[in-house]
Amino acid sequence: AEPALIYDAAGKNDKSFNEMAWNGAEMYAAANNLPYSDLEIQTDAQREQALRRFARSGASPIVVPGFTWAEPVSVVAQEFPDTNFAIIDAVVDLPNVRSVLFKEQEGSYLVGALAALKSETGTIGFVTAFDFPLLQAFGCGYVQGAKAANADIEVLQNFIGTGFEAFGDINTAGEIGRSQVERGADVIFAAAGGAGEGALQAAADAGVYGIGVDSNQNYLFPGNMLTSMVKRVDIAVLNAFQDELDGNFTAGVQVLGLAEGGVSAAMDEYNAPLITAEMQAVLDDFIAKINSGEIVVHDYRSDNSCPVS
């Protein structure tokens, strides 16, 4: 059966979550030289319809990124017990559904720590699209990490807008980036999909550091990109596709945190010169502690609040 991927409302090319999912599907296609199907829905009412269509056409597994899919998947997965489904960022408890969760807070914690270590001004920034639990989880992890590395650090937090269109508004993001720089921030973490590039650009233009999100964006502004908080949605999609192909698809919950390689602070040749050995050492210490459970990074989504700010 041909695997299928249905994107969330933001669409295939949100430069973030959905795009990562698409990258995973592409990786699968390239690796196996096999086709896959994908679809963008236009409205929420089409979710069940899309799932059903693929299921009827014999696709398996059908992978859907996004919490909003939980309800439609639980309906359609029961109608098609022989089809495999995978949902990212939500749990659907059915024998033919794999649920993949990420611990964004852990990855954000690491980049927050790095930011605090790098900062000379004692002020760092966080730019995100709008007040949204998932995005708040990024921010909350970031602040926790930063405070852990430097208790006196000040974190500026700004929202670009109040709805999904904020993910496209690079200009406001850029203006926010500049404003944070002007207020003293010298590292800015932009977790805002496509709009984030605006803030990263502002950081680069000002000669300070930016931190990318979701995919590895270190290549964007070499010398000015401290790191990226990578969330491997692509791996989740690739795994689901590949497991089905290899005949070992499993249902149940998969939580991809730091330990599982689901999130990380990207290190590559672009940012190597910026990361000193001491920074790396502190980082490794945090990683170990998180993996060992000594540090538990609070997840904003668990109670819709953040212990630090």
């Binding site: 829905i41 007040d131 639990p133 109040t162 999904f164 668990s302 819709n304």
Partner: protein, 366 residues
């Protein structure tokens, strides 16, 4: 200009729009051909997807229902000479009322949910539209500016409500889900032909709204006053019609109609309210209202056309993966352009054709 008979009515209301839609598809077809797909097959898929089978019909009608609400909202205000660009925000805020009542009553019976959330949606939508109405009537604040601003304010307000107030903790800013007992019946519960489509009982509210607006505008004294104010405010003053009262009432009705979209979409289908649930349907309503010439029958037809484009477009994207949802938006834009803004394009040609056909000698043109 030559001496001529006017066009037969059926040409005006059926043939010309059909030609315009056809032209939109021709141009859209070029784009489809550009991505290497067969435009004729694409059109076939689109039409079949929208009307070819029960489920397709169900989706088409479901979307059309939402467009009827937002379209009527624009049309009613337009009859009073007011351009309400705020359907988007009104429907958004109405969602809050609808979902709060639905969540409150969802342990009882769907009838209570339907009645309660309909009432709440209309009330919230009406209030959100009445403020710009009041400001226009009493303070002279231009309704176009205020409704645009109120769209942005609604977005911020709802973002706060959904992320911080009536939210459920989790990855998305959204409310709890309506319990099974309170869910609105789907049309497929009675008519299996609609199979899995989201078409629900709100469809009938849509029909009632169309009738309501028709009666209101053309068969009531209030409607007469609304039209008088819209067509000639000075004559309304002469007639002793209170502009202040009419403007506020009309905006309330307009907002209430826009608000009904919440019952169809949020309560009826998504069963919860999330950020941005209106999905631009408020703006589609503007096109629907004007393409339907602000008349309920026209609006019903235009809404059906848009419903078909949404559903058929989805089918198209499914069957032809290279035709992305963006291309479908392009096709929609072309339909709006050709059938809405350039609707008279074929008129001169048709006039000439029909006058020749009716055997009338043409006099010198200019």
């Amino acid at each position: 200009m030559s001496t001529h008979k006017p066009l037969p009515r059926w040409v005006d209301i059926a043939l010309m729009p059909a030609l315009n839609v056809a032209l939109a598809f021709v141009v859209g077809g070029l784009a489809v051909a550009a991505v290497g797909e067969d435009p004729f097959r694409a059109m076939q898929v689109l039409i079949f997807g929208a009307f070819g089978y029960g489920e397709g019909w169900g989706f088409t009608l479901h979307f059309a229902t939402s467009f009827v609400f937002t379209g009527l909202a624009v049309a009613v205000a337009y009859h009073a000479g007011l351009f309400n660009i705020g359907g988007e925000g009104q429907a958004y805020v109405a969602g809050l009322g609808a979902i709060m009542v639905a969540l409150w009553l969802d342990q009882t019976h769907w009838v209570f949910v339907l009645v309660g959330s309909t009432f709440a949606a209309m009330t919230f939508g009406a209030i959100w539209a009445m403020i710009p109405g009041y400001l226009q009537a009493k303070r002279g604040s231009h309704i176009v500016i205020t409704t645009i601003m109120f769209n942005f304010i609604a977005s911020a307000f709802m973002s706060y409500m959904l992320a911080q107030v009536i939210t459920r903790p989790g990855a998305n800013a959204e409310t709890e889900t309506i319990a099974e007992t309170g869910r609105l019946p789907l049309m497929s519960d009675f008519l299996p032909v609609f199979t899995f489509s989201p078409l629900n009982i709100t469809f009938f509210i849509g029909i009632l709204s169309l009738i309501f607006v028709y009666v209101l505008i053309w068969h009531t004294k209030l409607g007469y006053q609304i039209r008088t104010l819209g067509a000639n405010p000075e004559a309304a003053r002469y007639a002793g019609i209170s502009a202040v009262a009419i403007i506020i009432i009309v905006m309330a009705i307009s907002g209430a109609l826009a608000g009904l979209m919440a019952v169809n979409e949020a309560v009826g289908v998504q069963k919860r309210l999330g950020v941005g649930y209106v999905q631009g349907f408020g703006f589609v309503g503007i096109a629907v209202a004007f393409m339907g010439r602000a008349h309920p029958i026209g609006i019903a037809l235009a809404a059906l056309l848009f419903g078909a484009l949404y559903q058929g477009g989805q089918e198209l994207a499914f069957v032809m993966p290279s035709v992305s949802s963006d291309l479908v938006v392009v096709i929609q834009a072309l339909v709006i352009l050709f059938t809405g803004a350039m609707s008279e394009m074929f008129k001169p040609v048709l006039l000439r054709l029909f006058n020749r056909a009716s055997g009338e000698p043409e006099t010198v043109g200019d």
